[in-house]
């Protein structure tokens, strides 16, 4: 019985994790599409696909390959960054000021101009720079 419950709970966790990833990714793409002033029909044309195909991708009802994600980002003049973080890792978001981070965290490691990460007591902590698009 307990094993059965644990299997159901594991399956549910997987399902929720999958939906969360799909929802947030497609929503990020929709926001970027709007920032670029591009319609779904225009994106479909640029990709050489039908409008309904793009609509299904961006509504999360059709699976997207990493290749398709890369193609869409290319058309939107953006770069997707995929990161795998262990559960429990602390993620610092764009709300946090990088200058403040540097003052507070002396061992912070600069990865690129907008990207920081450091390890504290073996706990990986990353600064995730989220694109804030202003204009095109």
């Amino acid at each position: 019985m307990n094993t059965e419950c644990s299997e159901v709970s594991k399956a549910r966790k997987k399902l929720v994790a999958r939906e969360e990833l799909i929802y947030n990714l497609t929503e990020d793409l929709l926001v970027l599409l709007e920032d670029r002033g591009m319609t779904k029909a225009e994106l479909a044309k640029a990709l050489g696909k039908s409008r309904s195909y793009v609509t299904q991708l961006l509504s999360g009802s059709r699976n997207m390959t990493l290749g398709t994600l890369s193609d869409i980002c290319c058309e939107l003049n953006a770069k997707p960054i995929v990161r795998i973080l262990p559960n429990g890792a602390k993620v610092l978001t764009y709300e946090q000021d990088p200058v403040w981070l540097k003052e507070k965290i002396p061992n912070i490691k600069l990865i690129s101009s907008n990207d920081f990460s450091y390890h504290d007591n073996d706990e990986p902590i990353e600064y995730r720079h989220l694109p804030r698009v202003v204009g095109s």
């Binding site: 549910r12 939906e19 969360e20 929709l30 709007e34 973080l85 559960n87």
Partner: protein, 147 residues
């Protein structure tokens, strides 16, 4: 600061009266959660849970202050407005065919209120829904009810 991994609220997948995020609190008006059950009764039984999880993801994104596209969070109709001040609009958290009408409170800082949910495929706004949002808005923003 975010922590990687699913939080309990997501695995629980139940709509709560109050969802507290990194930036905002999203609250359901009285009767709103019940209206969700009615709104999803129009979708196939096997998909109702999925719609609830999807709505929770939208609420979480809103509560965390992350941007939501106009596609998923369109402007809908006008709120009644306070005397001498311009009227503001309300929006809808949308996952076709389910919509949850909501507004950002002026009385309570950093709080969004979800008035009610409906099942609707067309884009045009029903005047009954505008009235219902307006009544909830007046109850909370003018009369001072909690939710």
């Amino acid at each position: 600061m975010l922590t990687a991994g699913l939080d309990h609220a997501m695995t629980n997948s139940e709509l709560q009266e109050r969802h507290v995020g990194r930036k905002f609190t999203v609250r359901h008006c009285e009767g709103a959660i019940d209206s969700f059950a009615k709104a999803v009764s129009g979708v196939p039984k096997g998909q109702r849970d999925k719609y609830q999880r999807w709505m929770l993801l939208q609420i979480k994104r809103l509560a965390d202050g992350e941007r939501i596209s106009n596609d998923s969070f369109p402007w809908e109709g006008e709120l009644p407005g306070l005397a001498g001040r311009p009227k503001k609009k309300f929006r809808a958290l949308k996952k076709i065919p389910v919509r949850g009408y909501c507004w950002k409170s002026e009385r309570h800082e950093n709080v969004y209120y979800i008035s009610h949910y409906i099942h609707k495929k067309k884009n045009s706004l029903d005047s009954n829904d505008t009235t219902k949002v307006g009544n909830n808005w007046t109850r909370i923003e003018v009369d001072g009810n909690e939710y």
